[in-house]
Homo-oligomer: 334 residues x 2
DNA sequence: GACTATAATGTAAACGTTTACATTGTGATA
DNA sequence: TATCACAATGTAAACGTTTACATTATAGTC
């Protein structure tokens, strides 16, 4: 690999001049400028980002962790993060935690070691205490989809309880009384909040929550399917299912069909997240929308604004959840 | 941020000893070791990856570009890449090209500047010539899903033509004779190959390809839907649709239902890619499977093996495409 | 006690940039 | 002509590590 010194030699100028040309900083004569650019092309030269970060004391890297990039929900979020980072001239370094506290912690350490000048963390498995320590240590670390006592102003998340509440209220308004809930077995914040929203809506309508109609499984397609099989085997009548997320709803729908029932005529289904997937399902899924793109964008903006110690601090949008009515819900039969 | 010097001072040893402890290299007395570790914890110290890369002349970063992380196909691929990278002790730096040749090129430059020790490039929009220049310059750069003359041994891709051929042959074997093709309007390799596969299967069966039944649009849900509307408006009879990919198939299915037709009874549909999505659709989508995970894994393994100049070069698996029969295809009526 | 082999540690020179400061060259002004 | 202002450029010291080499301490051997 050629270095800046090689370019300087070839262009017959000093390294400082090369650096100035390549960074567009300070004044350089048109002649030197040209010579440097030619030498650069000749050598296919490219500044070394590591050396640059070291000298400059700024890595131009924003770090992010996310559980799993193959999940379109996180894909969409990261996409928004990278877009925003790129717009600010930064590069996004993404690591996956795979729902494992150890890997999540390793990922954060890794990002710190790269001297990230922004940190967006989506880590649901790590212990609160450990996460707090990092939040304390890195003032510009921002949390997504997790609320942490004492750091609310650096947590970007939606009102999960309200979301699920809206979903279930919608079912109740349609006339459903026997509503099942297929939740996530992950012991995290979102899971608790969404279940609370379900119970709240029931309670508010004076409906009893039947424990036999409340199940939990892994928050993926397969989990939704498995829970549905279990639910059907219990022979407890129900007319609607509220799901922890769209992925589970997809599994739920597939098993309902498998059982020879129809959606929404026999069973109404609501999801949560409003993934791309929701529009692909048939019938199209009624679900709770939340603005993933804006969350990703605001997380980056918030983190960098803290890092830069901007005079007027960045205030993230309030992320409204709302119901998107599609075709998977109708009135119960009879 | 504390530096290695601070740790050395606190632990009352030299920087070299700290470095040795933190890198697990060479022999260090248990006493020094302990002192260093304590000092490290005390200062929350973390080696600076940039300085490390500079001194060490090895960044421990593997770079990758992909068009768009919100697309589950790429998400799945990147996930496999990161897994493999992590297993080797490297960090994956992912950049998005957003189907834009300029951004793709910028992404590659960016990765080069970070001194990546492995390069996995999924860039379909860049001109062949420009890409070749990079391939020439970076011997360990590996291409995914794109074949480049003269660099076949560094291209990881599937046989698109064969895939589409299998899909269409399946339709023909079921008795279909009037088969529509909804392809991608992107002017890339995959698009041409898959269309060629479609034509080949038709030709082999002695069937005529009706130009009115061949459409193109953006390779996403919306594109599939738009093409289907156009197709239906043409009033040319058909009994099956072969799609460029699963995303388009989802749009196709949704419009077919919208038109009051049923799948597969009125229209059979085949996709391509076998995304997670294919199993979510109703009916579940018959499609062409290819091993995204293994491709991601092998891309990383190949790139690093070249970088390391391994004595015995890594030979990527041959990536077999095959038909996955689900529920979206049946015999044509009558 | 003198010597040697070896383990543990320290010293200082890289690595490839950026940038404060110093130097040079040029034209304008008095 | 001497002086000044200013633009263009160069010099060299950081930045935080790693690591070759040098040094010191320790134990074993004769």
């Amino acid at each position: 690999m050629a270095t800046i010194r090689d370019v300087a030699r070839l262009a017959n100028v000093s390294v400082a001049t090369v650096s100035r040309v390549l960074n567009g900083s300070s004044k350089v004569s048109e002649q030197s400028r040209r010579a440097v650019l030619i030498a650069q092309k000749e050598l296919s030269f490219c500044l070394n980002a590591n050396a640059r970060a070291l000298a400059h004391q700024d890595s131009e890297i924003i770090g992010a962790t996310v559980p799993d990039l193959s999940d379109p929900y996180f894909g969409a979020m990261i996409r928004a993060c990278e877009r925003t980072a790129q717009l600010q001239g930064f590069t996004l370094l993404v690591l996956q935690g795979f729902h494992d506290p150890l890997r999540e912690e390793k990922a954060i350490e890794n990002l710190i070691s790269h001297q990230c000048r922004g940190l967006i963390i989506h880590a649901l498995s790590m212990k609160e205490q450990d996460l707090k320590a990092y939040m304390q240590r890195i003032p510009y670390m921002v949390l997504v989809n997790r609320e942490l006592e004492g750091f609310k102003d650096r947590c970007i998340s939606i009102d999960n309880e309200k979301g699920e509440y809206l979903a279930v209220k919608h079912l109740i308004e349609k006339g459903h009384k026997k509503i099942a809930y297929i939740g996530s077995s992950h012991k995290i914040h979102d899971a608790f909040e969404r279940k609370a929203g379900f119970l709240k809506a029931l309670h508010e309508a004076g409906l009893e929550a039947d424990p036999k109609l409340i199940l939990e499984d892994e928050p993926y397609l397969e989990g939704g399917a498995a829970a549905t099989r279990l639910l059907l085997s219990r022979k407890v009548p129900f007319t609607a299912i509220a799901c922890y997320n769209d992925n589970m709803a997809a599994g739920v729908m597939s098993e309902i069909f498998e059982a020879g029932l129809s959606i929404p005529d026999d069973v109404s289904v609501v999801g949560f997240d409003d993934l791309f997937l929701a529009r692909c399902l048939n019938p199209k899924l009624t679900t709770i929308h939340h603005p993933v793109d804006e969350m990703g964008r605001d997380a980056v903006l918030l983190s960098t604004s803290i890092y830069n110690q901007s005079p007027e601090p960045f205030i993230p949008s309030t992320f409204e959840v709302n119901l998107v009515e599609r075709k998977s819900v109708t009135h119960p039969k009879a």
